[in-house]
Amino acid sequence: MTRLALGVALKQKPRHTHYHRKITPVVVLDEIVKWLIWVVMIVYSLSLLILPIWMILSSFRDIYSYNLNPFAWPEQWGYFDNYRVAYENLKVRLTDGTTYNFFQLALFSLIWSVMNPLITNFFTLLMAYVICKYKFPGRKFLYNFGIVLMIIPIIGSLPSAMMVKKALGIYDNMFLMLLTSPVGCFSGFGFLLFYGAFKSMPWDYAEAVFVDGGGHWQAFLRCYFPMVLPIFMVQIVLGFIGSWNDYSTFMLWLPSTPNLAYGLYLFQENATGVANSNVVEILAGFSIVIIPTVILYFASHRLINSNFMIGGIKG
């Protein structure tokens, strides 16, 4: 049926033609199933809201009323004591005695969340550009190897990576971790996204820049970068959200510069957190930490929804 459909499509039928839909048992069943799936989707969506709503409601309650009924509404919406306590207690004390307060944790989060996606995506963008648009020895190998890297599972290299990073002084050093973050930037979904975008852009723009006396960097920065900017921004925004919420990198590689996410984990666990806190204070802490990513997402969700697409992997 697909072949037939494609064949007819090539005859350039006018779009948006209205076709009468015969009411058959299959069509009726189709409608019933469609609405049943819709109900399931609505129930699923509501289930995703339960935890965040519970978090926000509980963060405005005192611990005594919470203990009596963890599901109730707040008695008074202006009860910000939990937020004050969370802000004061959201500290991390390292084993060497160094203590980081809320602002220091937030600073580490901000540096990591801005710089990590920026550096990684910038190099990924450049690699996609040169591999797509320039002929040089090893170009096809790099592209194919990048695809193989995506699908070949390298398991168990974590201990080795730990040894190498410790030997090179990169372990527990945020600056060096950021500088060395674009490893394998000619592989992965981001690379394919940029590569696909550049592939659809003609080389004529660069030729025009060269005729005007411009160089290769100018061609890239003046012509191609603006055209790929929406996709780049999507990657940056998603990268920011991911990095802001990233605690495992800090747990594993940067234990001496904890970010808010890792601090929050320690705050909740009270493992090495400075102060013991109760559930409602912890929930208030969670509410504080998610504010930047929520704002960022709602400011850019249309951009993200329209520019995030993953195709096939062809080597």
């Binding site: 494609l6 070949i152 909740q268």
Partner: protein
Amino acid sequence: MQGAIRTKKIRSGKRISRKASSNLFVLSVVWYPLVLFLIFWVGVNFNSILLAFQSVNVDGSRQFVGFDNFVAFCKNAFSMQGSGTQLMYSFRNSLIKYAVSVVVCMPLYLIFSYQIYKKCFLHETIRAISMVPSIISGYVISLLFVNFIQVGGPLYYVMSKTGHEWFSLLYPTINGKSPWIALATSIIYTIWLSFSTNLLVYPNAMNSISPDIRDAAKIDGVNNGFTDLRYIVLPLIFPTIETFLITGLSGIFMDVGPLIEFYYLSAPDYASYVGYYYQVQVLTGNVSQYGLLAAGGLILTAITAPLVFLLKWCCDKFGPSTDAGGDK
């Protein structure tokens, strides 16, 4: 791609060929990522291969031990005693998790995505809400979930109010329940949160299908969701499905799941995954285990890599081929 080699004047007054300036540009871009790749991918993996044949002492010194690590890992992997227990459970759980993601999750992603693509009532809202775990952090959601189901949390409150016996979903054996409950909890939890990216990617892939094909399909008699999804949409977005299938299989033994958030480093053996097992060994700083882990990694790579290439070959060979639409 580029025209014939010409020359251009640069500020210093010298003339260099277009080809030379092009090569210089390429070199200025690729040298740094390639150096990083050589050190942190090639170097790290080469070191990992060496580690597999060595034992590491507490002071960091290494000794060649031949295939001892491989033998020890295999013995552990098929043993239900000592450290082998966690490894054995980890294998089983990782395989179950991947099977569930393919058999249960993928059809659900596609069906949900199709409804969003068809612009069902409130489709934008559903899509936005499905992104909630990604926006406010899957990690925060995990911690909320733990607080929600623990003693004193809302689940405990509801069960006690309705006269049901509460039991720990994370440590069910404490309350005399089946250990499968812990695995089911982590898998169901993962499924529950996994829709966000999928409801972003699949509808976008479906939207890339040419309207001409849709019109042609209607003329051909595609007048209901079943046939549309089966004969038009799925074949045309198959490259995207294939990508997720392959990368999913590729990461089968690297997936940590939500266990760090649920248990930190002390997950019960029956709830563990292989990825979690590795992460815990590294986080606990157990240097003496590094050789064993590296050998295990090589064995698992040797098992998984051919399977991944086989899956890719099967997808390319037997999957639907398209010569228009989609993004293949």
